[in-house]
Each structure stands twice: as structure tokens, then as C-alpha cells.
């Protein structure tokens, strides 16, 4: 029961998301049978949109662990995602591996990158670490685009025609894919919650607040940062693998600075260091992008820029962050209003 009480909102959201495809089908007048059979329609379309959000959320939450919780600003996080996507794609396409082996490979790739980033950890801090990671990611971006790797990675077009496993084919089995992505996102979220509340996670937060003090308390901060990097690397790589399975093409831009900036924007929108902010932010980010594109066409990025500026000015700590900071204040204000209203109301005759 305690779990339910602690995660009441999460449970409600999960139930809503599970029911979502069916709800849309009902609203749309599509029969449940047709929807389950994967026929095209609004339900299938919105499932696709939500899958993209789930993937983005997994990517963003891994960035939140690194930056929001541990305080490591990385400008190369897109590489974690991209390596996962390319590893999965190449393993399935060129090496013809089955899915489980591919996923194991992806996890190994995630750990390997985390180790690569950790080599520079003891030497560079703060913004310099961000720039070095940017260097790594940009070199990876350039390598993956080079002509020499055309047969493997597809050059600057990207990796195409990845054979999808029959059970998880986003074209025919989108509902299954939807539930798998949803489950993975929720699992990742719950695991991260647990990780952040664990003693290790507490030390990670301490490193963000004041690394010297954490060291003075006797923690070897390197190991904790490494742990955060590895967890984050594996998660992002898994998100990337999901991306490779879902999208028809894995583009090399997924390793570019712009993609890292997306993750940064998502957690800034949601609230830095809140974890749930990454999920909310991913939804807000993707939906904003989608609907602004639909409404304004070419000038949508202008509106998006205005929205960012407005968010910074009016939601000073992101959606979840501002909510947490102002929750009590707002509640008190509403209660006061309610009291004033009920006092002013003429009592029964």
C-alpha cells in the first residue's frame, strides 16, 4: 500500500498511458479489434508519437542523472544515445544477431562509453569536462558520417533498412512496441528513483552540491561519478537501441550537439534534478514541437524559441521544479481564497 501512496501520481499516469490507445480508438470510433490488429488510424498515430516521447524521456532522464543529480555537465551525451542506436542497428543488420544478443551488446557499448568518458574525469571539471565530452561526441559524429564506413553506418544519410524483429515491428506490432517502450520508461524511472534515494545516489547529489565537502567526508567521488556515468550510459544506449528499432532510419545527427541540447532543453523544461521532470519535459518538448510544426509550419522554430524564453522567465525552475517550489504557496493561497469565499457566503437560513 505504501508503494501506491508514494507513487500515486505515477500510478495514475501509468494507468492512463496503458488505457490511452484504447481511449483514442474509442473516441475515434475505431473498433478495439481493428486497433489491436494494428490497422492505421488516429490511435496508431498517437501511439507512434508517444513512443517517440518515451524514447526521448529515457534519453533525457539519463541526462538528468548525469547533470541534474550528479552535476556533471556533458555536451557529448548524444553520443551515448547514438552509439546505442548504431550498435543495435549494425548488430541487427550487418552482424545478423538476434535481439537479446544485440541488447547485451548495446549494454556493453553503454558501459564502454561511460568508461571512455571516465578516463578524463579526474583531469577536467565543470565546463572543461563539457567541452571535452563535446569533443568526443563530435569526433564520433564525424567518424560515423565518413565515407569509409558507408557500408556499415550509411554515411551522412544514416543507417537504413534495419531488420526489425517480427514481434516488435513498429509497422505491424505498434501496440506491442508501445507497451514495451512504456514499460521500459517506467522501469527506468523507478530504477532511477531507487538509485537516487540509495546511499550511492545521495553521495551523487552531495557531489553536485559540493564536491570538496564530499571528498572531505571520505568519499572517493570518482567512483560515484563513474557509477552515475555507467548507469546513465547504459540507459541512454538502451534508449538509442529502442530508437533504432522504432525509426526507419538512424541519422548521424543523433550524435550531434543539437541532440544533446534537446536533452538539456527537456530537463530544463521539466525541472533539473527532479527525474520526473525529464518525463514531463519530454512530453512537453515533443508535443510542442509537433503541434507548433502542424500549426505554423516553417515559422514554428521561431515560436518554439519564444516559448523557451517565456518558460525561462515564467517557470523559473521548470514545470516540476516550479511546482515543487510553489506547491505549498499555491495551496495556501487557494485555501485562503476558499475560506474568504465560504466566510462571505450567506449561511443557510
Amino acid at each position: 500500500m505504501k508503494i501506491l501512496r508514494d507513487h500515486a501520481i505515477l500510478g495514475a499516469v501509468a494507468v492512463f498511458l496503458i488505457a490511452f490507445p484504447f481511449l483514442i480508438a474509442l473516441l475515434d470510433g475505431q473498433s478495439i479489434g481493428a486497433m489491436l490488429a494494428g490497422q492505421s488510424g488516429n490511435s496508431k498515430f498517437y501511439q507512434g508519437l508517444l513512443i517517440e516521447i518515451f524514447i526521448l524521456a529515457i534519453f533525457a532522464i539519463s541526462y538528468d542523472l548525469l547533470f541534474g543529480i550528479t552535476g556533471l555537465l556533458s555536451f557529448g551525451h548524444a553520443m551515448f544515445f547514438s552509439v546505442g542506436a548504431y550498435t543495435a542497428g549494425i548488430a541487427l543488420k550487418s552482424l545478423k544477431l538476434p535481439l537479446p544478443e544485440t541488447l547485451v551488446l548495446v549494454v556493453f557499448a553503454g558501459v564502454a562509453q561511460a568508461l571512455l568518458f571516465s578516463i578524463v574525469l579526474p583531469r577536467v571539471k565543470g565546463i572543461t569536462f563539457a567541452l571535452v565530452t563535446l569533443g568526443f561526441a563530435s569526433v564520433f559524429h564525424i567518424v560515423i558520417m565518413s565515407h569509409e564506413l558507408n557500408d556499415w553506418a550509411g554515411g551522412d544519410v544514416g543507417l537504413q533498412n534495419i531488420p526489425k524483429p517480427a514481434l516488435l515491428d513498429p509497422a505491424n506490432q505498434r501496440l506491442t512496441f508501445y507497451f514495451v517502450a512504456l514499460a521500459l520508461m517506467l522501469l527506468v524511472y523507478l530504477f532511477y528513483r531507487r538509485f537516487v534515494d540509495s546511499p550511492t545516489g545521495r553521495v551523487c547529489s552531495a557531489i553536485r552540491e559540493n564536491e570538496h565537502r564530499a571528498q572531505m567526508l571520505g568519499f572517493n567521488t570518482f567512483y560515484f561519478k563513474l557509477a552515475a556515468l555507467i548507469v546513465s550510459g547504459i540507459t541512454a544506449a538502451l534508449g538509442g537501441a529502442l530508437h533504432a528499432l522504432y525509426q526507419p532510419i538512424v541519422s548521424p545527427t543523433s550524435a550531434s550537439l543539437g541532440y544533446t541540447v534537446n536533452a538539456l532543453l527537456i530537463i530544463l523544461i521539466g525541472g533539473v534534478g527532479t527525474l520526473s521532470g525529464a518525463l514531463v519535459g519530454a512530453a512537453a518538448f515533443r508535443l510542442l514541437q509537433f503541434y507548433l510544426d502542424k500549426l505554423f509550419g516553417e515559422s514554428s522554430s521561431f515560436i518554439l524559441g519564444v516559448v523557451y524564453v517565456a518558460l525561462v522567465l515564467f517557470l523559473p525552475y521548470g514545470i516540476i521544479g516550479t511546482w515543487r517550489a510553489k506547491k505549498l504557496e499555491w495551496r495556501a493561497a487557494w485555501q485562503a481564497r476558499w475560506r474568504a469565499w465560504s466566510a462571505a457566503r450567506p449561511r443557510g437560513k
Binding site: 572543461t128 567541452l131 569533443g135 541540447v261 518554439l304
Partner: protein, 521 residues
């Protein structure tokens, strides 16, 4: 002697890194013929100068205020576009000057509002809604007035009247400016009044917003200086309007060299103004939560780029070189720099190859001048002293009772002005396009990381390294490197140009985490 050895011993890694850099530089020279490496170095210096203009502004802003201004690349691009307008379309520039002057005259009423507000006590409900009402009304009046003001511009949607065509026309020497639009006196008066009122209302809104966070009343004196300045600006704007046609004719007749000078000045000033505006309105509330500055500057960068695309179109535009550097013909290519200046040559022949006077000489000289001027400003003036002190310890400077806010605004304006200057200088050599800012921001960031993020000499050294490395890789891409175990000479491909600078950055940062000249934290 002992002190030198002492310094070297203390900075052993630095010395080794510098030695390795010099060694690899000499090796790179070894593989080329004399004419080739000299021209490659000159090209590298030119790229370095533009990179330096962006990087130094970025580093000043980051050093003093800890703001990573990711809109810097966009501001560089805006500089190029504004410069292009002043250069190719002087009539549009003059038409725009009057509304701008009126608007700023309105904005300068701010201290007057301030004084008025210190006497009036607003009800809390009014204080919440009124600023936004004033701001909205101000923007509305501005839009209304501006839409009715006659501006001879261009039309992005019609090819014959698009900016691209005017650029090409100027390049061919047959610039054909459209006839100015004529509107009635009544509409003109209304639009001018609206522009002035818009500025005044926006100032009122800003004052009201500000006054909510203030405890005590600020000023009681009548702000004569600001009022006089406002009056002067308004009158100046009107005078510009009265002599608009004569001035346009004068500017068109003055020739491209003078117009280029005006373009440089206008672009720098507009950049500085934009910087001051950005800092004082948007960045200032965010000093307490630094990471959100990233989001804000990113958003501003996107907005700026979209505005530029909406106003000037997506197509890359030509910005012809000024006449002083653009003649082919008698006495050209020149033998010496003086000949080149006398004959206005576009190239100088040197050891069998040609050096372009604009790209390889002029840009570099401007870069060096800016380097010296800013260095003198930092080292020899009072404000420079405050800036240097602020970079070291901001809290201490504030505690000493120095108005750091004004210094912040000044530095932001200076930094953005430098970027805009870089943009207008790069216009004729790189071409004016909406993606010119991004790649340059990345190179500038790399240069700063190499040189040391907050160090001014570091910005220069880093830009130099980045520029030289890029140009050497480009040159070796043409002639190839003879490597010992390869049959064919190895030719670096274009993607290796950015990759090489990134690798250099990573290597240097791993050896020296604070960059070549950065101070230890």
C-alpha cells in the same frame, strides 16, 4: 636567467605543450613549398582573426558574468546581415534610422517614469497587471507605427526584388535602388507619434516591473541628461527624415569603400545595442540560476535566426568586397602592399602565389587592431580594471561598492559588438548566410577551450591555433601528406578539418585542464 628557468620549471606541462605545438607547426611547414606555407599561414591568420572576434567577446562575457552566451553565433550572423544592409542598401538603412531614433527617444523616458513612480503608490492589484498592460500597449503602438512608416526595402518573396539580387547588382556595379515609398503627412505624423509612444510605454512597463522588486524609492532628481538625450535623438531622427533623399544620394555616390566603413560601424553599434538590451532585460533576472541562461540564450539564438530568415530570406547573399580591395586591372596584381593600396588591387602576387588583400591582409589587420584596443581597454582604463577584478572575484568587486550592473551591461554590449564586427568583416569573404554563425561559434568555443576560457590572451592564442590548424589541413587536403608507410600521399578529407581542431582541443585540455593560458581555479 634563473627566473626564466624557474618559470619554465613551474609551468612544465605548459612548456612541453607549447614546444610540441611549435614542433608540429615546423613539421607542417616542412612538408610544403615556401609559397604554399606562407599563404596557408596568412589564410590561417585571417580565419583566426574572425574566430578571435567572436571568441574574445564570448570569453569576456563568460569570464565576468559566467554566462555561456550560446546566441553569440547568431549575433555574429546578425552583424553580417545588418552590415550587408548598410552596405548594399543605404536607403533602407536611412529609412530605418528615423523610427529607431524615435523609439529610443521614447525609451529614454525611463528615468522620468522612475521619478514619477517614486511619488505614486500603486495598489497591489494595479501593480500586478499594469506593467504587462503598458508593455502590451507599447508593443502594439510600435507595431502599428512601424507598419505605417514608409521604408524602401526589398521583397523576399519576389525574386527580382529579393536581397540576393541587390547583392549581385552591386557586385556587377549596376545597383538600382527602388524609388522611395511616399505616404501622406498625416499618416507619417501618426506613425512617428506611435513609434515614440511605443518606446515610452515600453519604458513605463519596464519601470513598473522593476519597481515591484524594489524596496526604497531610487531617484528624486529630474533626469535632465536623459531628457536632453531623448530630445536630441528625436530631433536627430526628424532631421534624418528631412534630409533622407539627399543623404541617400550622398551615400550611394560615396562608393563602396566608405559605405563599407559605415557598414562596419553600424553593424558594431547595432550588435552592441542588442547586447545591452539582451543583458538588461533578459539575462539580468537569471544570474541566480545560471543553467537557465543556457536555455534562454539558445532560445534567443533560434529566434534571431528565424527573424533573419523572415527578413532577408534563406538564400545565401553576396556581399561584394569594397572597392579598395576589389580591382583587377592596371598594375594588379601588385608587387607590394603600397602598390596594392595605390591601385586598389584585389590581390598581391607573392612568390608565385596570389594573396587576396581583403581576405588575407585586411581582416587580419583589423583583428590585430581590435586585439590591441581591447587589450589596452582592459589593462589601462578604469573600467578595464573593474572588468579584470570582476573576472577574478565578482563578489569582492560588488562589496567594494562598484556598480557592477552597469559594467555587466557594458561588457555584454562590448562582447556582442565584437561578434557583430566579426560578422560584417566575414561577410565579403565567407558570404552572408543564415548558418554562418553556428560553425563559427563552435570554432570559437574550441579556441577558447584551448587558450583558457576566461583569458583574453588565451582567446587570441586559441584562435590562432584553430585558424592555422584548419588552413593547414585544408591545404594538405589539396597537396597530400607523404607518410612513410603509404604509397599514395595521404589527403585529409574535409570532415577532418573540424575533427582535427576538436582533437587538438581534447588533447590540450587533457594535458592542461585550464587551457594554455587559463588560471587555475
Amino acid at each position: 636567467m634563473t627566473t626564466i628557468i624557474g618559470t619554465i620549471r613551474k609551468n612544465r606541462t605548459q612548456t612541453i605543450t607549447l614546444a610540441a605545438l611549435i614542433l608540429s607547426f615546423l613539421l607542417a611547414i616542412q612538408g610544403m613549398e615556401t609559397g604554399d606555407w606562407i599563404i596557408t599561414i596568412l589564410r590561417g591568420l585571417s580565419v583566426a582573426a574572425v574566430t578571435f572576434l567572436v571568441a574574445s567577446g564570448f570569453s569576456l562575457i563568460f569570464g565576468l558574468m559566467d554566462v555561456l552566451n550560446l546566441a553569440h553565433g547568431t549575433l555574429f550572423m546578425i552583424g553580417a546581415y545588418v552590415g550587408w544592409t548598410a552596405y548594399v542598401r543605404p536607403d533602407t538603412l536611412l529609412d530605418l534610422a528615423t523610427p529607431a531614433a524615435l523609439f529610443f527617444a521614447g525609451l529614454l523616458l525611463l528615468p522620468l517614469w522612475d521619478r514619477w513612480l517614486s511619488r505614486v503608490r500603486l495598489a497591489p492589484q494595479a501593480a500586478r497587471g499594469l506593467p504587462w498592460l503598458a508593455l502590451a500597449l507599447g508593443v502594439g503602438a510600435l507595431a502599428f507605427g512601424f507598419a505605417r512608416y514608409p521604408i524602401t526595402g526589398w521583397d523576399v518573396t519576389v525574386y527580382d526584388k529579393s536581397p540576393v539580387v541587390f547583392g549581385v547588382q552591386l557586385d556587377l556595379g549596376q545597383l538600382d535602388l527602388p524609388a522611395p515609398a511616399i505616404v501622406g503627412a498625416e499618416q507619417l505624423g501618426v506613425s512617428m507619434l506611435c513609434l515614440f509612444a511605443g518606446g515610452g510605454l515600453i519604458a513605463l512597463g519596464l519601470t513598473l516591473l522593476e519597481s515591484r522588486n524594489r524596496i526604497a524609492a531610487a531617484t528624486t532628481r529630474v533626469p535632465w541628461r536623459a531628457l536632453l538625450l531623448a530630445l536630441g535623438l528625436a530631433l536627430g531622427g526628424l532631421a534624418l527624415f528631412a534630409w533622407n533623399d539627399a543623404l541617400t544620394a550622398f551615400l550611394v555616390a560615396a562608393g563602396t569603400t566608405w559605405r563599407f566603413l559605415i557598414a562596419v560601424i553600424v553593424a558594431t553599434l547595432v550588435g552592441a545595442g542588442l547586447g545591452a538590451l539582451m543583458e538588461s532585460t533578459l539575462i539580468r533576472p537569471l544570474y541566480t540560476r545560471p543553467i537557465y541562461q543556457l536555455m534562454l540564450t539558445l532560445g534567443l539564438g533560434v529566434i534571431g535566426r528565424e527573424v533573419v530568415i523572415a527578413l532577408w530570406g534563406r538564400t545565401q547573399m553576396q556581399m561584394p568586397k569594397p572597392a579598395l580591395f576589389n580591382t583587377i586591372g592596371q598594375g594588379c596584381p601588385a608587387q607590394t602592399i603600397f602598390d596594392a593600396l595605390a591601385n586598389q588591387c584585389s590581390t598581391i602576387s607573392f612568390m608565385g602565389s596570389r594573396i587576396r588583400t581583403y581576405n588575407e591582409i585586411f581582416i587580419f589587420i583589423v583583428g590585430v587592431i581590435v586585439l590591441i584596443v581591447v587589450w589596452l581597454l582592459l589593462q589601462r582604463t578604469r573600467i578595464g580594471m573593474i572588468i579584470r577584478a570582476g573576472v577574478q572575484d565578482r563578489a569582492m568587486v560588488e562589496a567594494l561598492g562598484i556598480n557592477v550592473r552597469q559594467v555587466f551591461t557594458f561588457v555584454f554590449a562590448l562582447g556582442v559588438g565584437l561578434a557583430a564586427l566579426g560578422g560584417v568583416l566575414a561577410g565579403p569573404s565567407m558570404g552572408v548566410s543564415d548558418d554562418m554563425g553556428e560553425s563559427l561559434l563552435l570554432s570559437a568555443l574550441i579556441a577558447l577551450a584551448i587558450g583558457g576560457l576566461t583569458s583574453f590572451p588565451g582567446a587570441a592564442a586559441g584562435s590562432l591555433l584553430v585558424g592555422l590548424l584548419q588552413q593547414f589541413i585544408v591545404k594538405y587536403g589539396q597537396i597530400g601528406i607523404a607518410l612513410p608507410f603509404l604509397e599514395q600521399p595521404f589527403k585529409p578529407t574535409p570532415p577532418l578539418v573540424p575533427a582535427s581542431t576538436l582533437l587538438l582541443m581534447v588533447i590540450i585540455l587533457l594535458a592542461l585542464p585550464n587551457g594554455l593560458f587559463g588560471r587555475k581555479e
